[in-house]
């Protein structure tokens, strides 16, 4: 299988557009998560300005919104790399040797799990189950699921990431 690399770059944070996104979702019951997801989907992260914005729209305290952003692993307060590689390190993938693959990726990218390469290209993250346990080890690159990963395929994937923008 050809491992594709997407080159979708998020636009820089824009307060006016963020406000529009907040306004579009604020009427939903329990709107906090849908708003935060929509902001991150658009900008790649939750900008600092979002906290008072969302708090005001939902009539909640800033502490509450900050608490939500901080609680959930998905929400980022810093822009991620241009590509995000999530590697599963839950039990089913462990049984098929995912820990060695994680080490391989860390070594080649020169960063640990949860960090972004110095050139801002790749964010490497751990995932705890991607639901692809019968095709372990699994990973996810920019939202695309990858199964039956092995050392050679991971190397090819990292080659492509290296030559991508």
């Amino acid at each position: 299988m050809d491992l594709q690399v997407n080159n979708r770059v998020a636009p820089p944070w824009d307060d006016a557009e963020a406000l529009e996104i907040v306004a579009r979702h604020r009427q939903m019951p329990g709107a906090t998560l849908p708003i935060l997801h929509a902001l991150q989907e658009r900008f790649g992260y939750i900008g600092r300005a979002a906290i008072p914005m969302v708090a005001e729209a939902l009539n909640l305290s800033q502490a509450e919104i900050h608490g939500v952003v901080a609680f959930y692993d998905d929400f980022r307060e810093q822009p991620p790399g241009r590509h995000t590689l999530r590697m599963c390190r839950a039990e089913a993938c462990q049984s098929m040797g995912c820990n060695t693959l994680v080490e391989q990726a860390e070594k080649r990218l020169g960063v640990g799990l949860g960090a972004t390469t110095a050139d801002g290209k790749v964010t490497l993250e751990a995932a705890y189950c991607l639901g692809n346990c019968a095709c372990a080890p699994a990973a996810m690159l920019d939202g695309e699921l990858i199964g039956r990963l092995d050392s050679a395929r991971l190397d090819r994937l990292l080659d492509r990431l290296e030559s991508a923008s």
Binding site: D2, L33, E64, D73, A92, N132
Partner: protein
């Protein structure tokens, strides 16, 4: 030949199939057919759940659907060179799909339709028996629907195994201005994928089950909470809901009846604890996923403080068939107090991993050997973790355990959501025990001390054991800690994390008695 014959070829759009190249295969088949001027329609179906054979391509022929397993884009020209479109022999051929032993020996009730067609074709859904349960529900009094589910013996498939009908009865009789049906699709357990497979392969079944639940308990609003690790399932469900609205199955006057039922899908945000029902409700309300004290039960005071059914995907998806064929039909499958079928998920170091739906009662060994074909590595089997990251590690001696809630409890394990992860003899159970504590520490919501602090102390104690420091004393301490976490944690995360740890200690003590390793290497 002048008139061209149209041939249907099925290439799954399921995330697991895509993860091993199904998209490239579909593109290659379309391209190859065009080059050869052949009339081929490629249908993007759900997966049959035979993940070991994905991408599983099927061709519709006069003898039925013929399957080809592990097809790559590079195989496509060769397939066309042979009699692929007539289902001819090829080294990748698996024969008639329905006759593949892995599929043939299953008892598919919930997953009967999964992978047969385009999951978003509501016409196909109806043609293949969809909405028959709803049609019957509309002829019954709501109380009778609830009693039908009670009678069926259906127990919550999320892991706790609580009788679904009893939960419904509580919500039915509870008073509240607004009642809710919430589907827990936060399938976070490693080794499980049945919810994902169903949502991607037969989404209308879940929607039908939720509508029936709404009618039964008097709820007019429903939410499906899907974990963010499942973007494909989220998209499919979202599209299916839009189609169901358009076709009059959702909204005002459900399926032409007098009821109202609105449905929405929400995305989780990478938190395992949100699979716990009260944390899930908090999350749906827009808060941090911190668990709630019980009582009050969600059935009395759930979403936004109103009476709420919280059911797993598989529980809700079992309901249409129970209504269609009757409670007796469903309860005639199974053993003891575990009635019906269990969608078993076989994964990890196993040759043939996938979805195996069987009546309760099949043994663990039969699943791993007969269906799974042993380890993927070819090395000897050593352990199976059943029931996700909070499930026990069972040794070879326990392979005779029947898959049934009570049999697992009797052996200090749990069936959970039905996931089985197989390990070969290279596994180190001391490290697996350490991981169980580490996982609990990462995912703890922090509300109760035994879970929040206990898990971190647990990692440290196991590190000392691995490093050979004062082993006897540390093992005694670990046992004490596990007992405390079990007894004093507020929810299943802290309360069940000791299961994998204690089972590792009990069945694999030799792994805690290896030559000392440095603390660094234990990480």
């Amino acid at each position: 030949m002048s008139a061209k014959i149209n041939t249907k070829v099925y290439v799954p759009r399921d995330a697991a199939a895509l993860s091993v190249g199904a998209e490239d295969v579909a593109v290659a088949i379309i391209g190859e057919a065009r080059r050869r001027k052949l009339d081929v329609t490629v249908v993007r179906n759900g997966s049959r759940g035979l993940f070991w054979a994905e991408p599983l391509v099927e061709v519709e022929t006069s003898q039925g659907r013929i399957a080809y397993g592990r097809v790559t884009a590079a195989d496509v020209p060769g397939l066309f060179d042979g009699a692929f479109l007539k289902g001819g022999h090829h080294r990748l051929s698996l024969g008639v799909t329905e006759d593949i032993p892995y599929l043939k020996h299953q008892e598919r009730l919930t997953f009967a339709r999964c992978g047969l067609t385009d999951p978003l074709s509501i016409e196909d859904y109806r043609r293949l028996g969809g909405f028959r349960g709803l049609a019957r529900a509309l002829t019954l009094a709501p109380d009778s629907i609830v009693e039908e589910v009670v009678e069926s013996g259906l127990r919550g498939r999320g892991g706790a195994g609580f009788p679904t009908g009893i939960k419904w009865r509580t919500v039915r009789t509870a008073s509240g201005a607004q009642k809710y049906v919430v589907c827990n699709a936060d399938e976070g357990d490693s080794g499980t994928f049945a919810d994902r497979l169903l949502m991607e392969g037969d989404p209308f079944l879940l929607i039908e089950g939720m509508i029936i639940a709404g009618i039964a308990v008097g709820a007019t609003s429903g939410y499906i909470y899907v974990r963010s690790e499942y973007p494909h399932a989220f998209r499919t469900i979202k599209q299916a809901i839009a189609i169901a609205y358009k076709r009059g199955y959702l909204g005002v006057g459900v399926a032409g009846g007098p009821f109202v039922f609105d449905l929405d899908v929400r995305l989780g945000a990478g938190s395992y604890i949100c699979g716990e029902e009260t944390a899930l409700l908090e999350s749906l309300e827009g808060k941090r996923g911190i668990i709630r004290y019980r009582p009050p039960l969600p059935a009395i005071k759930g979403l936004f403080g109103q009476p709420t059914i919280v059911n797993n995907v598989l529980s809700l998806a079992a309901v249409p068939l129970i209504l269609d064929k009757g409670a007796t039909f469903y309860r005639d499958f199974g053993m003891g107090r575990s009635r019906g079928t269990l969608p078993i998920q076989l994964a990890g170091n196993v040759k043939r991993g996938g979805l195996i739906e069987k009546a309760f009662g099949i043994t663990l060994g039969d699943v791993i050997e007969e269906f799974g074909g042993g380890t993927a590595s070819g090395r000897p089997f050593r352990a199976a973790q059943v029931g996700g990251p909070l499930g026990a590690y069972f040794p070879r001696d326990f392979l005779d355990t029947p898959l049934d809630y009570e049999s697992f409890t009797a052996r200090k394990g749990l069936l959970g959501h039905g996931g089985i992860v197989v390990f070969d003899d290279t596994v180190d159970l001391a490290r697996q025990a350490r991981f169980a504590m580490e996982f609990c520490a990462i995912e703890s919501c922090g509300k109760c001390t035994p879970c929040r602090i206990g898990s971190t102390r647990g990692v440290e104690i196991i590190d000392r054991v691995i490093a050979g420091q004062d082993r006897d004393r540390n093992l005694e301490l670990l046992n004490d800690l596990c007992e405390l976490m079990q007894d004093a944690s507020l929810c299943a995360l802290g309360g069940l994390t000791p299961y994998p740890v204690l089972s590792a200690l009990e069945h694999f003590p030799e792994d805690f008695d290896r030559p000392a390793q440095s603390l660094r290497a234990a990480e």
